[in-house]
Symmetry: C2
Subunit: 415 residues, 2 copies
């Protein structure tokens, strides 16, 4: 497939991708959009011009909206048909390819748009599904010989996170203040976190509202997943370690989480399906699955000091996940918990076996005992004020590349 829009060979946004997002165009007009190469395409105008008339069920301009929620809620038969139609329209010799006015009205350079949160997120859950990450954390904070807790291999451990503070890539985050208890202190102290960290994660967005009492089976779960994003679950380790017993992470996490602006559909990721790690012991029936449910998505984390350049500090892959997305969604709803359109379900930190594939500073520096050396000569145990963390993700196979772009966020000093 060749598009009439030129883009570089290593673009994340090839004709095989066709992701969805929301943008402010020319600082004045908001609409849902897609992206091809370095062009952002205003779908509301494209719809008005009639290019999507053939898509059955797309009965009104769902793209004239501040979020993708109403579009996503149409369900896979319609959202897939839109994606395929867009792919067709972007090909050489399509009716759109020859229509200069439509291209001029609908296609925007990156510097003419400002990406916004792609969805309203009613509920956000964070899982803990990388065995390497859970093992590293357990070894550091509990017992290297019994790093995994007894439940870990029987169910995808998860907890509810804070939906209000999920922000789009580029939004700056203030270093959180809070209560911590230094090892040698008699009483807790209050101040800016001294152990600010990132967590390299991916998240998926749900496309339906279910009724309380109903469940989504592993078998059907992927039909309920619209697509995926990159996700940085910022974490204040010192606040978290003091507060988290017995009810879990709270202020150590809820000061902010960042997502990438483009939702890459599950359909665009199909070519990159891959086998899951073997689950032993065998899981309960409601968690059993068939086929390739993992996805081979390369992940990178960069740390960029103020006025410095990007340092690659981690190289991981989404295929390492022990628990897959279908299992996560089936588990989440097996008790009758209802889901809502736009819900975000994050993977938990994605670490691999190798030390350079760990998905957090906590693991990369092994709790600060082995600082990272940056290319400007400085060192990091955790994140400094004004550092920027950038995560990138893409899949590549047989010359086809589908990527997420990046999620980036700069840490500002505490307010």
């Amino acid at each position: 497939m060749t598009s009439f829009t030129q883009y570089s060979e290593n673009s994340d946004f090839s004709i095989h991708n066709i992701p969805f997002g929301v943008a402010v165009f020319n600082k004045e007009y908001i609409a849902c959009c897609t992206r091809i190469g370095d062009m952002v395409v205003d779908l509301a105008t494209l719809y008005d011009y009639g290019f999507l008339d053939e898509v059955e069920g797309l009965t009104e301009n769902y793209f004239e909206a501040y979020t993708l929620n109403a579009f996503i809620e149409l369900g896979k038969p319609i959202t897939n048909a839109v994606r395929l139609k867009l792919q067709e329209l972007f090909l050489e010799n399509s009716p759109l390819a020859k229509d200069e006015k439509s291209i001029s009205d609908c296609f925007f350079d990156l510097d003419q748009v400002q990406m916004m949160m792609p969805v309203h997120v009613p509920n956000y859950t964070d899982f803990y599904s990388s065995i390497e990450h859970a093992t590293n954390v357990g070894a550091m904070f509990r017992d290297p010989e019994n790093a995994l807790l007894p439940n870990w291999k029987h169910l995808p451990v998860g907890y509810h996170g804070r939906a209000s503070s999920i922000v789009i890539s580029g939004v700056e985050i203030h270093r959180p203040k809070g209560q911590t208890k230094p090892k040698d202190a008699v009483s807790p102290i209050f101040g800016p976190s001294q152990q600010l960290d990132f967590e390299l994660e991916m998240g998926f967005i749900v496309n339906e509202n279910t009724e309380m009492g109903d469940s989504i089976s592993v078998e059907n779960a992927e039909d309920s997943i619209f697509g995926m994003v990159l996700f940085n679950d910022w974490s204040a380790r010192d606040i978290q370690s003091w507060e988290y017993v017995p009810l879990g992470p709270f202020l150590g996490k809820n000061f902010g989480s960042s997502i990438s602006p483009w939702i890459v559909t599950l359909e665009a990721l199909v070519p990159f399906r891959t086998a899951s790690p073997k689950q032993d012991p065998e899981v309960l029936d409601y968690l059993k699955f068939e086929g390739d449910k993992n996805f081979d998505i390369n992940l990178e984390v960069y740390l960029k000091p103020e006025n410095g350049t990007e340092n690659l500090i981690s190289e991981s892959n989404f295929k390492f996940m022990y628990w897959n997305m279908a299992q996560q969604l089936a588990h989440h709803t097996v008790n009758g918990c209802n889901v809502e359109v736009g819900d975000l379900y994050a993977s938990g930190t994605i670490s691999g076996k190798d030390k350079n594939s760990y998905g957090s500073m906590l693991e990369l520096t092994w709790r600060g005992t082995n600082p990272i050396k940056l290319n400007d000569g400085t060192e990091r145990k955790f994140i400094n004020d004004n550092d920027t963390i950038i995560m990138k993700g893409w899949a590549e196979k047989d010359g086809i590349r589908v990527g997420f772009g990046e999620v980036s966020g700069q840490i500002l000093p505490a307010k």
Copy 2:
């Protein structure tokens, strides 16, 4: 103050209350409302008839809405003024008292209305702020000699709950299914929860949107609280105890939580302010407070078997709380976590010192070892299918009574 509407001496909805809710009137029309005695008052029509014209800042009909969020967001100066104006209108000899047509159009009997969720809840947090409850649970599951974890007296422990499954009083809840690990089993099993419980709680509703990075001080926190509700945090103890390490409660809680339909404003509760329990050790500066921040609110829990009558199984009081609402909100935002209009912050189980004041079956039956005898001769360790749990709450002082009505919910068999 005497109202032109007659109501019994022990009505929760006296002229001193004036709570807010949302109702379906005559099965066809939805609007925000208040209640006086056993009459529900349609505020949208009352506004249209001009009775609220004198309230400054109430520039449009915010009551013509499916939730109270837009009204609440107006802030205390306006919402308080509306409450006081309504109180004035409900007095004998008010302009409304003499207006038969307006009364006939705006006042509805209880059987003509169906109460709905009063607010859209964007975020829900559950605290763990009763020292008696935390001590009981710690003694049962950990160590009676060290029942409280080291952080408990230094900060109001809390965690994020599931907003999607908060329902209004009267909605039936299906018994959740899930993974549990019986004591003597080698592996976990799957099935309906065998230890279904209630938690007697109260919750407060926030009236403003804050920016990420900003905090609400203890001193100002009550200005951000619109009002309170009764809250039943249904809990499946067997699911919870297997899943909750290390990240907290998840499927043991998120299958459903129930709230009472009427939001009682903080202003209506002012006469019932009372001193807080002494906090020792002294808390950090950001948690220090002055004045009476607790509220003397009587709480009762009833269990009603199918075809049976109500059994009073617990008598507690909101004044027992170790951490008050102002401290909870200050703590929640001290790290820059933003809040949103309609957010619900629940207290955690409200237990007292006496055994009959415990706020859960877990504590009342001491983990099932001391079953409750009901008036039909049956016993309960936990909640049976088709049992209904009813919680009631009211404050009373110097002949003034302000109450919440009830939150009730029946447990249906697992789906």
